[in-house]
């Protein structure tokens, strides 16, 4: 690991506790990450100033470098919330995803993943996934069982379910982006703005370029007459709002109804 541009950091009990808790939850939203950081300082080092989150995390990452893992920051595709997860820097193939899934379960995920990538909306219907149950490698799986396995993926935050359809959780995208781009180079979609992997997003009806919802929000912010950045045609879709953590916190209780479709992200 020569020539690393990262400043070598020092890891204390504050960082270790933080890392352990982040791993326990798998993926966390930025608001929770900040709370977690404050809590870790409170437990181990009450009087120290809380380091800026970015530096705090870079510190930890510089120590984890030799293991080829790091805490990565991403953004949820549907509403632009910043999320953090511990990911494998070495290409994560599906088999490395987790060891508590059987061969047929991993193959089910692979099939779902392929349907999601091929789809236009970024969602694969439960029916379509379950219809592929006969083609799975390993032990034969019944549709009923496959439904439970899909729920397991949702619980473990590899998939998100919305009205009977499945898409990739932000965590899966963070961890597997490289693998997906390498394995499905032709089918993969990319955002015109940020150039990262795109699963859900909006597309131009004329030239077909795609953009993430949060990227659309930022690009067309306070623009009453949005046009496609590529072909300049009128952008026909609803422009979402840029994610504002302050507004989020104030909304607080009224958000609880919105949260029901996305199960509590812990």
């Amino acid at each position: 690991m020569q020539g690393s541009t990262r400043r070598m950091g020092v890891m204390t009990d504050v960082h270790r506790r933080f890392l352990q808790l982040l791993m326990t939850h798998g993926v966390l939203e930025e608001w929770d990450v900040k709370r977690l950081q404050k809590h870790c300082y409170k437990v181990h080092d009450r009087n120290a100033t809380v380091e800026k989150l970015e530096d705090f995390i870079n510190n930890i990452n510089s120590v984890l470098e030799s293991l080829y893992i790091e805490i990565k920051k991403g953004v949820t595709e549907d509403d632009g919330r910043p999320i953090y997860a511990l990911v494998n820097l070495a290409t994560t193939s599906i088999s490395k995803m987790a060891s508590d899934f059987a061969e047929n379960e991993l193959d089910l995920f692979r099939k779902a993943l392929e349907l999601i990538i091929d789809s236009d909306t970024g969602f694969a219907s439960s029916t379509n996934i379950l219809n592929l149950v006969d083609q799975l490698k390993g032990k034969k799986m019944r549709k009923k069982e496959a439904e439970h396995v899909l729920q397991k993926f949702v619980q473990n935050k590899w998939l998100i379910e919305k009205e009977g359809e499945f898409t990739l959780h932000g965590r899966a995208i963070l961890e597997m982006e490289q693998y997906i781009r390498e394995t499905y180079p032709d089918a993969v979609k990319v955002c015109n703005i940020c150039h990262s992997l795109l699963i859900q997003g909006q597309s131009c009806d004329t030239c077909g370029i795609r953009m993430h919802l949060p990227c659309v929000a930022k690009y067309f912010q306070s623009n009453s007459d949005p046009h496609c950045p590529h072909c300049n045609d009128y952008w026909p879709h609803e422009i979402p709002e840029v994610f504002d953590p302050e507004k989020e916190r104030e909304a607080g209780i009224s958000k609880s109804s919105k949260k029901s479709s996305r199960s509590r992200q812990h």
């Binding site: 950091g9 890392l19 352990q20 709370r35 120590v63 030799s66």
Partner: protein, 310 residues
């Protein structure tokens, strides 16, 4: 161990430990990049690389809570370096402690099974529940029934208690799935419980015991306190159990101290080198007498239990 490497250079078993000196740190562990280290014999660098891979492997495998077999480690990661297994696993243990605050513990010396346990009190419940919390809650109930019953409990007794919680065998629960499978199969595989046939019972009857992992992740004292909280009693009201719990704490303390001393001895030659970097003389194995019993998953349950007992 008279192994010759590719350059026909005899490697002494002590040599790697000595060269490793500058890696050992105190509480504030400083990671020295490879570029600045003195040149290492090729083999040692590979051992470290294997150890790093082993760390990731253990972290992933531990997610299932099923104890990890030494044979699997050898087959999947160590491979041709099996002779150096002790060195590699020592380095992996060290990294796990220094980066993740978990101990790699061998819970079964006969079958060489290992688990990862958090070193200190974890911050249970700080961000709400995780997907494991309900199962661990259920486990706590079962562990307390077993303990209060004299360290073993007939299956019938367990089901009486579970029925009161609305759980029935053969009925799929939204959180637990099929409960019987959970307690007789999943928890047993994870070594939280043991499920044994009562000898000479006809028709066959079964009873539950604490599993090896439960002994490591929690303590009888904690379970006693939990049970008493539910019953709104004082732990001392259960005299026999209290005595037993105290005895276990004392034993655990003695073991922890002995282990810490053993490790300090191994690393002692390196300590002088890090006298400059180190803030504390001990290698990092903190033995605080009243924080003995390492707990990981089970501890997560406690703090959320403070608020709402099952």
């Amino acid at each position: 161990m008279n192994r010759r490497n590719d350059y026909d250079y005899k490697m002494s078993p002590l040599q790697s430990k000595h060269l490793n000196g500058d890696e050992r740190g105190g509480v504030n562990y400083r990671w020295i990049p490879w570029g600045r280290r003195p040149p290492l014999p090729r083999d040692v660098a590979i051992l470290q690389e294997r150890a790093n891979k082993l760390v990731k492997y253990l972290l992933v495998k531990d997610q299932t809570k099923i104890p990890i077999k030494r044979s699997d480690m050898l087959k999947d990661i160590i491979q041709e370096y099996d002779e150096y297994f002790p060195e590699i696993i020592e380095r992996a243990s060290y990294a796990l402690e220094k980066m993740f605050r978990v101990n790699l513990k061998e819970i079964d010396k006969q079958s060489s099974l290992y688990i990862l346990i958090s070193i200190q009190e974890s911050s249970a419940g700080i961000l709400g529940t995780t997907k494991d919390t309900p199962k661990l809650g259920l486990l706590m109930v079962i562990l307390s029934v077993i303990f209060m019953n004299g360290n073993k409990a007939n299956e019938a007794v367990i089901w009486e208690v579970l029925r009161k919680l609305g759980l029935r065998p053969g009925v799929r629960h939204s959180l637990f799935g099929e409960v019987r499978k959970l307690i007789t199969d999943e928890f047993v595989k994870q070594k939280y419980l043991e499920y044994k046939r009562v000898p000479n019972s006809r028709p066959p009857e079964y009873e539950f015991f604490w599993g090896l992992r439960s002994y490591h992740e929690t303590s009888k004292m904690k379970v006693l306190k939990f049970a008493c909280k539910v019953q709104k009693k004082d732990p001392k009201d259960w005299a026999a159990q209290y005595r037993e719990a105290v005895e276990m704490e004392v034993q655990a303390a003695a073991v922890a101290v002995a282990e810490a001393e053993a490790r300090a001895e191994v690393y002692f030659p390196c300590l002088q080198i890090l006298a400059m970097n180190c803030s504390s003389p001990s290698h990092g194995a903190k033995v605080h007498p009243w924080n003995l019993c390492p707990h990981n998953s089970l501890n997560r349950y406690y703090q959320s239990a403070e608020g709402n007992t099952l």
